[in-house]
Symmetry: C2
Subunit: 526 residues, 2 copies
Amino acid sequence: MTESDLPVVNLTPGRWGDPAHEVELPAAALEALKHLGVRRPPAPVEPAAPSAPDDVVVKLLVELLGSEQVKTDLETRWGHTRGYSTPDLLRHRAGDTTDMPAAVVYPGSHDEVQALLTTCSEHRVAVVPYAGGTSVVGGLAAQGTAFVAVDLRRLDRLVEIDEVSRTATIEAGVRGTAAEALLAERGYTLGHFPQSYEGASIGGYAATRSSGQSSAGYGRFDQMVVGLTLATPRGTIELGNAPMSAAGPDLRQLVLGSEGSLGIITSVVLRIRPRPAERSFEGWRFASFDQGLTAIRRLAQDGPLPTVLRLSDEAETAINLADPDVLGGGSGGVLAIVGFEGTRTSVRHAEVAEVLAAAGGESLGEGPGETWRQGRYRAPYLRDPLLDEGALVETLETAGFWSALPALKAGVTEAFVNELSGQGTPPIVLCHVSHVYETGASIYFTVISAQTDDPVAQWRQAKTAASQAIAAAGGTITHHHAVGTDHRDAYAAEIGPLAIETLQAVKRVLDPNGILSPGILIPPTP
Amino acid sequence: MTESDLPVVNLTPGRWGDPAHEVELPAAALEALKHLGVRRPPAPVEPAAPSAPDDVVVKLLVELLGSEQVKTDLETRWGHTRGYSTPDLLRHRAGDTTDMPAAVVYPGSHDEVQALLTTCSEHRVAVVPYAGGTSVVGGLAAQGTAFVAVDLRRLDRLVEIDEVSRTATIEAGVRGTAAEALLAERGYTLGHFPQSYEGASIGGYAATRSSGQSSAGYGRFDQMVVGLTLATPRGTIELGNAPMSAAGPDLRQLVLGSEGSLGIITSVVLRIRPRPAERSFEGWRFASFDQGLTAIRRLAQDGPLPTVLRLSDEAETAINLADPDVLGGGSGGVLAIVGFEGTRTSVRHAEVAEVLAAAGGESLGEGPGETWRQGRYRAPYLRDPLLDEGALVETLETAGFWSALPALKAGVTEAFVNELSGQGTPPIVLCHVSHVYETGASIYFTVISAQTDDPVAQWRQAKTAASQAIAAAGGTITHHHAVGTDHRDAYAAEIGPLAIETLQAVKRVLDPNGILSPGILIPPTP
């Protein structure tokens, strides 16, 4: 089975993924939770009665899109409330309806999105785009105001493939899985496989600068975008006459990562590649994380670069390996996953093996690689039963230059341990390198502890401490999860007040009435 | 001799490059010019008396920087008047002082640049940054207003090398040649070798999105920048905490290509690479430009990619080859240059050769490759004696997606031929592919004809026709020469009025009094 065979999953907030794929925790995990002091939390409750949508607004939307494409029933609205961060899931379980959209609309084309934004701007109706719904940073709820969720699932077309230029024009509502299936029919792939792959959409990838697990080989999503169409309250912007240009600033890079705050991306032109003829995934053991880090840096800087390159630290290696014998009879060390896709993979494989062995690595063969590949979308499924048991479990990621990574990793780990231990819930902190570049890499943390009585506040404090540690070590507040509302203050501090002013100025031009995703990414103008 | 051995050339406008390297036209070229109807133009004249600088402004600048760093003498001002487009050279020969700066200042640090901008903004004094002075798009003169040229040559430090992250922090005034020499001492290279290499600077590369002749292997300059510092009238912006980030739009890409209109870039953090252990350059013959285009597209899309990859069309191949036998006894066809630098070049070389041969190419060995390498910075030197003889000679470049390139090339060629023939000066039009990407490439034209009595107007009309052809074929108005004033209207049409409004809004935030490079890149707010 390959990525293009995976079905489209219509996610509903509250629990991740396809219900058929739900997992049970192994007995060993339940035992481990006891050691963390985990206790069963209160049972989930039904959503509280939400505020009613504004009749005038609903009438306006129905006139524009027709009554079938405007939903105000509780189930639809609750199904579009927040995304998949742990605080989102906890609030869902608590029946908290504060972030519920007043209505959900389903425009069917760029022109309908454009008309919707023009009209909503005239009538000062706030809108937030909703595609896959997989945000983990609070990117789906307008802050402090009633809003309409703009569900893009009807923008579901592969518009065009240019086989000479190897580009595909794809609408924003196409899910990652659907895009791969559509491209596979023609022999192509995007090669973009983030952990949210089963639910996330093309438009969301673009709006949040997503990065997939094969980014070493295929690049980040923002590197795949060569053109885009943006609907704004002031009209449509189309960008991308050439792969690269010296005609002024690259405004595509201003729209990518704008998270619905400057407009709604309705389609993108993406670089595509032929489907790989071969693929193989392999495990490698290193004596320590530091040794492994030097080895993968070697590949990132001098090549050749495999398609997938990941390195777990000691704690993650110990916890995540189903079979402890895989590292050679419990001798410790850390696990790297090295994957190859494409043609001539055996040649590159041999060159990579030479570099890794010279750096102290030991090949573990395809066993651990295949285990990782088959489980690559499973981690989010584990969180739900862990939350059921009363564990706090969440992830956090950052990136920095290679020389900054050791201090960045140590600082974030220490912040989590100190803050959560101080709250009486000492955590386990796992870490891996998830994406590599010539000049640096991203690191990804998983944190597990017992929940306190107020787990939302518990995590907020822990995340604040970790975010301060990221800033202190000179890292970026997010490498591939985006900003949303959760990272907004840290983001503003990272780029500084003058840079924030420039974004506010761009927003005032495109969204003069401030209807687009209020409070997401860009702090409101004072 | 390698790039790091080339001396820094202090260019003075009017004639390109190092006077010691001036060339004489071969007799065959002089003969060819006769066929174009070329006649000797009027002799160059001395510059007209320029307007005197404003005493109040000069006093202000002297208070800020000291009298030694403020120059108002005619020679210095004339030496900072315009750049190296053919219209610039023609106006220089005509003694036209309309674009002459009122004064030239030499700040010595970021803090001095920052103080200068703050003060100039308070007093409404227009400034235009000047580093290498190699603009070919009218990027060095404020339009319609007196201005001060800010010569950045004293920002000349290699500030820091981070050998773990493989980055170098380099000030904006460092010339390309100086940067290579400084990096070579530590065993590194940028690998950025544009044709302006002898004169251009790091700050100019960044501000104009320069692209070098080795871009297939080393990337464009904007892809080398991982961090930057920008001085603006409102204060300093520092960007780049990580190689890549999902924290909002990539604002580095808003500054890159801003051509001094949003601030003055005072330093950049650049990805560096080890100096290549090996290098080789080879010529390949293809039966036609179309066949060669398909062959190099194969490499750009499926790899492996050489470091240098260029393809001349039939006309350029015929004109530029010193030895007509090089293509196999005058059998026609087109020439591609394929260069390799780094390690394992022989392995990559063999793989590339296999691809090119399968696409119909025939290896010509290292002869034509070495000829190209040794002459890679010589073309601009040829223009001066051609102008001396009365020829009109200028270049123009664009980029587009692969599927658009044939129509783009045909459209631009036809526009030049029709327009210049219509003026009674039928041209020769040469073309080559200069930079390749997976989804497209840039094409670069050289146009030669006789001059009319008003060669500035002659070229303006020809370029307008060519620019319209670019727009009609969906290309970008510039791939690596930037916008300046010459491309401003075409640029505005390319990205559209709403996108232009966003740039104007950003400019208003950073430059509220509009003192930065007025009229360059961004059209004035109506």
